[in-house]
């Protein structure tokens, strides 16, 4: 395993895992506590339209996905806030329309789309240098926005009504949060792929939530969890020659379930001790 680290592709893969962990750790916490997991799933799938657009225009599909996904998220946010269309209905439409556009765009694009599969399911071992740089820039943007607007996002997630009464620009922050989800999806596409993105947006945050009730600590723990998930998933997929994106997701889910199980056992033991000492 360790001799693999001297290869450029392996170093790139580790860098990609690290950058993915930062984005999904921070934004994933908001996704989980604000309960916008389903919306994020819709945004992730809609990004396929952007991949198709990239192929059609002959630009880097990840760049296409970035522009398209941010626009789709803003459109979704405005439609749900300004019209009477129920949110979950709107998610279904966003989800399918984004993918449908992607299929049409790819059909219209000249020639064959060779690495389409890696956008759908991710391949951490083949992340190009340009995409790594883009991931780094998006990470910086995400961290800067969250640090600057920390309390705005916290209040939006905790109590939107009181936020509005106190003058928090709740709707603008909500739209911005959807954009952050869109940017995170873009960061994660190369690592786990469009279809599996939602797992990395939820599992690290869900794991972190078991250990703290501070939002900041939850973000740091989720980043750490993300790093452990991507690195160990990468290692297992390399050693066993499995698909890297899918392996990362299965490792994450397994660790989460083990942790939930341990927590449950610990609580039951504590309760038993309490009843024993009371008796």
């Amino acid at each position: 395993m360790f001799e693999a680290l001297q290869y450029q592709f392996m170093q790139n893969a580790l860098a990609a895992g690290l950058l993915a962990a930062v984005a999904c750790g921070i934004v994933g916490v908001y996704v989980v506590v604000k309960k916008v997991v389903f919306i994020s799933g819709g945004i992730a799938h809609a990004s396929f339209g952007g991949i198709g657009l990239g192929y059609l225009l002959g630009i880097n599909p990840v760049l296409g996905a970035m522009v398209f996904t941010v626009a789709a998220s803003l459109g979704f946010g405005l439609v749900t806030r300004r019209t009477k269309l129920p949110e979950d209905t709107a998610v279904g439409i966003l989800w399918a329309m984004g993918m449908a556009l992607g299929i049409i765009f790819i059909g219209l694009a000249p020639g064959y789309a060779p690495d389409l599969f890696s956008y759908l399911f991710g391949n951490i071992l083949t992340v190009p240098f340009f995409d790594l740089m883009l991931m780094l820039i998006l990470d910086v943007v995400i961290v800067a926005l969250v640090v600057t607007l920390y309390k705005g996002f916290l209040y939006l997630a905790f109590d939107e009504e009181f936020s509005t009464v106190s003058g928090v620009p709740a709707e603008s922050l909500y739209l911005l949060l959807l954009c952050l989800v869109a940017l995170t999806v873009v960061v994660l596409i190369r690592v786990v792929g469009i279809i599996l993105v939602i797992a990395l947006l939820t599992i690290p945050a869900a794991l972190a939530r078991q250990f703290t009730y501070s939002l900041k600590k939850m973000m740091l723990l989720a980043i750490l969890a993300g790093i452990i998930f991507t690195f160990s998933g990468l290692w297992i997929s390399y050693a066993l020659n499995l698909a890297s994106g899918a392996t990362i997701i299965l490792v994450s889910g397994t660790i989460l379930f083990i942790s939930l199980g341990i927590n449950r056992l610990r609580r039951r033991t504590q309760e038993r001790e309490r009843t024993a000492s009371a008796a």
Binding site: V33, K35, T148, L149, K151, G152, L154, Y155, A157, F158, D159, E161, F162, S163, T164, V165, S166, G167, V168, P169, R209, T212, Y213, S214, L215, M218
Partner: protein, 252 residues
């Protein structure tokens, strides 16, 4: 201290999908009022509070808060919404919740300074919850959570407190304690609380109004059974409290 008019509603109508929720509401709240608004669920109680806060725009009529629009005037209002609306697992501490009240001083970008933190500590002392400041809000009892949200509303020195079903998630034993806190607060501000629980409200407030799409305002808390029936549109039991020496139970 002479009473000053804080809130005025003139012929306010609110429609939801063309169905009237509030009809021709006229209401005046003065700076020393302690008003209880009672009425059945779905009678428009929460809507009325949201109209005062500018969260819902009336389809007809005018709302004035401290001589200006609700959006401008609401910084002088402390709002305590129904407790059951928040996520008990949300990772946030008591002190962070109370600091939220200082948002309109600090704004979106600036962090909280000493003055903000002192205001939060003072508010927690007022509601007797300072010892709990590092606890997770969701892990407190209903009564304790209620106090935390009142503290949040107090950090801005409001002229008016609006409470939506404040006793719904407090166990009965704690209700007396809760109303004693309101007794203390009403020295410095007007208080309006809405509830479907007639008996609990009527002991403490100074005036009662009944709301079931229309507002029946009595100016005192002597509410007759007939008036309550008009509000609830069904025969009700009226149980008198306090100085009335016997219970009046009406037949169903």
């Amino acid at each position: 201290m002479t009473a000053k008019e804080l809130v005025k509603l003139k012929n306010v109508w609110v429609h939801h999908d063309n169905i009237p929720v509030l009809e021709a509401i006229n209401l005046s709240i003065e700076s020393n009022d302690f008003l209880g608004i009672i009425g059945p669920n779905g009678g428009g109680k929460t809507t009325l509070l949201k109209v005062i806060l500018g969260l819902i725009k009336p389809s007809r009529g005018t709302v004035t808060v401290l001589g200006t629009s609700p959006e401008r005037g609401r910084k002088h209002i402390g709002y305590i919404s129904q407790l059951n609306l928040f996520d008990r697992d949300f990772p946030i501490r008591v002190f962070e919740v109370v600091l939220m009240g200082r948002y309109n001083r600090a704004g979106l970008i600036r962090g909280y300074n000493e003055a903000d933190k002192n205001a939060a500590v003072a508010a927690l002392k007022t509601v007797d919850m300072l010892d709990y400041k590092d606890r997770q809000v969701g892990k407190l009892s209903g009564g304790e959570q209620q106090r935390v949200f009142i503290a949040r509303a107090l950090t801005t020195n409001p002229k008016l407190l609006l409470l939506d079903e404040p006793t719904a998630s407090i166990d009965p034993g704690m209700q007396a304690e809760f109303y004693e806190l309101l007794e203390k607060l009403k020295e410095n501000m007007a208080i309006v609380l809405v509830s479907h629980d007639i008996s609990a409200v009527s002991i403490y407030v100074n005036e009662i109004a009944c709301l079931n799409h229309r507002l029946f305002y009595h100016g005192s808390k002597e509410v007759s059974a007939e008036e309550l029936e008009k509000t609830y549109q069904c025969p009700i039991q009226l149980i008198a409290h306090g100085t009335v020496p016997h219970r009046v139970l009406r037949e169903h």
